[in-house]
Subunit: 115 residues, 2 copies
DNA sequence: TGCGTATATAAGAATATACTTATATAATGA
DNA sequence: TCATTATATAAGTATATTCTTATATACGCA
């Protein structure tokens, strides 16, 4: 049996709805370049920690990102084994690099996890 | 000056939010194969006419689709000159063909506009 | 053990979204 | 001209979304 290259419309819509928020979409683009922890996102987006955690939870609930603990920090990363990962990755690749935001954190000495 | 291939994250998020609804995403996929009028969509989705019109209005407001009148009917089509059309088209191409839905309409003698 | 830091979760409020019903507009055809 | 059909728009409602604030949990370290 040959796998269908196409995606279920309803599930694809669910993914796109999640990505259709500028904070989450930026998070995903950042994660497509580097793993990150929650406190870095709060710095980058200048948003409250609960707000950031709640966005990450939504992404995690559908399996688009995964988490792992490193000491006090929870490191988030794209889940490359998600069924729709190739689709999501292709999509993220059309967006501008967010490297500058991470570089800025480094200059401020606020970079934690990602190397 | 060479055009940047990447998209503004905020605008991209706006597009993805619109596509992140299964009705609108299906509509866009259908339009990527054939132009369609409102009454065909109401048949396909078994939704009220105002509900369909309101979805189409959102897509039109950001310029993803365009309309033209043919007699009583308003024909909707993808707007191929939209700045993000290549992005949207690529995305729609990953979704399964909706040809069957239109064929079914034809069998029922409810196909109007599209050839 | 107790404190500080990082994170998650819960509850509540403001706003956005997607329908509904009612009505308006435009074209067709008798 | 009038009735019918196709479509758009407005107003209202139910639900979803995205914050906020308050609190709980987990780890590291003195």
């Amino acid at each position: 049996m040959i796998a269908d290259q196409t995606l279920d419309i309803e599930r694809a819509a669910g993914i796109l709805k999640l990505l259709g928020d500028k904070t989450r979409l930026s998070m995903m683009r950042i994660l497509s370049e580097h793993d990150c922890c929650v406190c870095e996102f709060t710095e980058i987006f200048q948003m409250s920690q609960p707000a950031i955690s709640q966005h990450l939870r939504k992404l995690r609930d559908v399996g688009l990102v995964k988490e792992s603990r490193r000491g006090q920090w929870i490191i988030y990363a794209l889940n490359e084994s998600h069924e729709y990962y190739p689709f999501v990755k292709m999509l993220l690749n059309t967006l501008p690099s967010q490297e500058e935001k991470l570089k800025e954190l480094e200059r401020q000495g606020k970079r934690i996890s990602c190397e």
